[in-house]
């Protein structure tokens, strides 16, 4: 069932396009040699170029160009061998030159496509219109002083990739899936860290609504939304507002708006009121950006395996379900973790452990995949102990817990705690005999046909053996003795 907003006059379809600003991972800025690192003291990572001093000129950073090309390739997009920079002219206190150097008419990357998986198991293609390089502005701090806004130019000139989608998105869920997939691709490529909290990925959300079969109606742009959840909420709020405007006989005005996540509503953005004439023109301080075929080919050859390809391979090579594969490839580090665990072992068992106990442990400890509480090598070693019958599956869970707590290897824990599985038939016989002797009534019930009680005897025996009995041998012995 497609997402729709139920208004008084019926169902409204939501049409969404996203402009994602992704901060390029690089040492220095797009057009200057100052640091692009996050979080420094105000105005310490600013050159005269970044501060728009008289006579200063931009010089482009090769790595930023390479990152844009890698990203374009990762989005299955057209790479333009000749692109240009333009000036987007408007005044803002944290934009020192009075213009933003961007790419308007001739972006470095053309059309591409992103495949997203939806919760109903379907896959949808979202078109990418373009990707272009541009410089970020500085930062305005409005809440430090009663009558003044403070300006920090550390971010001024940091390279951004603006990735513009087609208006192919039809629901908050699709928008969320698109953003998560995009972030996953960028992180795989190492071109953007995708950290929305620090602002290294933020979205302008273009929203309109329409009745089925209609052409597009007027859209509004909700600026600078900085989390996946907020994007989804903003779409819901803005679409609902627009439906109300249309249904009350008004018409939606094209404008830029801001999303207030506390009130779950959007409002017009005052500072953008007259910014609709950007007077773009070719940046005369820069020459055309010409990419050599060989250079692009070399970048292409060095690309890592991307989520979609990896997912397909995981299914083919390891026989994983679509769901498990999708979960495991979402983060590159998770996929690598899984592959280390699975190497030379039963892949399905490895997948179960990684998506099950391991993810639970991440959750519980609040750790991330980049700094996991246990290593993939240790988890693999644990699986080996199960496979060679050193420990049984139940004990393995305890060993896993101990590994998370102590960081020790599974072999050490098994040795220290004496958790080796008991495969000595004499010990098992003795334990089984004791249980049968202690429960004559249960034995009678079982023999009279209450088969379900078999589990009771297994549990009691295992308990008596402190969990270390070999389950197969216990079963075998019980079957014989109870027969």
């Amino acid at each position: 069932m497609a997402y729709a907003i139920e208004g008084a006059t019926g169902a409204w379809e939501v049409v969404v396009g996203l402009e994602v600003h992704a901060q390029v991972i690089s040492q220095s800025k797009l057009f200057s040699g100052s640091s692009a690192a996050f979080g420094a003291e105000p105005n310490t990572q600013v050159s005269f170029v970044d501060a728009g001093f008289p006579g200063m000129l931009p010089v482009i950073n090769r790595e930023c160009v390479a990152q844009a090309v890698r990203t374009g390739l990762g989005l299955n997009a057209v790479i333009h061998n000749v692109s240009r920079f333009d000036r987007k002219n408007y005044f803002y206190a944290d934009m020192p030159q009075g213009y933003q150097i961007s790419q308007y008419q001739h972006p470095i990357v053309g059309t591409g496509v992103v495949e997203v998986e939806l919760s109903d198991g379907s896959v949808k293609e979202i078109g990418v219109t373009r990707l272009h390089l541009e410089q970020d502005a500085g930062k305005s701090l409005h809440d430090r002083h009663a009558t003044k806004t403070f300006i920090d130019l550390n971010r001024s000139g940091v390279a951004l990739m603006e990735i513009v989608s087609e208006p192919d998105i039809r629901s908050p869920e699709e928008a969320g899936a698109y953003l998560r997939k995009l972030r996953s691709i960028l992180r795989y490529l190492g071109t953007c860290d995708g950290n929305m909290e620090e602002g290294s990925m933020r979205a302008d959300v273009n929203v309109s609504v329409r009745k089925a079969g209609e052409p597009y109606r007027t859209r509004c742009e909700v600026k600078n939304v900085n989390s996946v959840r907020f994007v989804m909420q903003a779409i819901e709020a803005e679409a609902a507002r627009q439906v109300e405007v249309w249904e009350s006989g008004g018409s939606v005005k094209q404008e830029t708006r801001l999303f207030d996540p506390n009130r779950l509503e959007t409002r017009p953005m005052r500072s953008k009121e007259d910014a609709h004439d950007y007077r773009y023109f070719p940046e005369p301080d820069l020459l055309p950006l010409v990419l050599e075929d060989d250079w692009v080919a070399a970048l292409k050859a060095s690309l890592p395996e991307l989520p979609d390809a990896k997912k397909a391979r995981f299914r083919a090579e390891y026989g994983l379900t679509a769901y498990d594969a999708a979960v495991l490839v979402a983060e590159k580090a998770t996929a690598e973790f899984f592959e280390t665990v699975a190497k030379g072992r039963d892949a399905k068992i490895a997948a179960n452990w990684v998506t099950g106990d391991f993810f639970a442990a991440l959750n519980k400890t609040g750790a991330t995949i980049d700094n996991p509480p246990i290593s993939a090598t240790d988890l693999g070693a644990l699986l080996d102990l199960i496979a060679d019958s050193t420990i049984n599956g139940r004990i393995a869970k305890d060993v896993f817990e101990a590994m998370v707590e102590t960081g020790k290897s599974p072999a050490t824990i098994v040795a220290e705690k004496g958790l080796r599985q008991v495969t000595d038939t004499g010990a098992i016989d003795a334990a089984v005999d004791a249980i049968i002797a202690a429960n004559p009534d249960k034995v009678a019930e079982y023999r009279s046909g209450k088969d379900k009680l078999f589990g009771f005897f297994v549990g009691q025996t295992m308990k008596a053996m402190a969990g270390k009995g070999n389950p197969a041998l216990i079963n075998e012995t019980l079957k014989k003795r109870l027969a």
Binding site: Q27, A93, D274
Partner: protein
């Protein structure tokens, strides 16, 4: 394509130049004089001509990605008309 006072007002706002009302009419005449003279370009047949954007006809060199600049907030802030600590300061902006 006459530049009427309303257009002048719009252009001046875009350019962030405060213009008094009594200047609009004379400015309109001056600028129209210049634009009228510029209109001679309409005589030129430019069909199929690729626009020339700059004075240099070469491809762009790219620099290496290394931190070689910045780290001098005092110099950045030295000429500031108003500042507060390490920040530039401007009249409060409402977004």
């Amino acid at each position: 394509m006459a530049l009427d006072p309303t257009t002048i007002r719009r252009i001046a706002t875009l350019a962030r130049i405060q213009v008094d009302d009594d200047r609009l009419e004379p400015l309109s005449q001056e600028l129209n004089g210049i634009l009228g003279w510029i209109a001679q370009l309409n005589e030129v047949d430019v069909d199929g001509v690729e626009p020339l954007t700059g004075g240099a006809q070469m491809a762009m060199k790219m620099r290496d990605d290394a931190v070689t600049d910045g780290g001098y907030p005092d110099k950045i802030l030295a000429n500031a008309p108003d500042r507060n600590g390490a920040f530039f300061a401007v009249p409060k902006v409402v977004e």
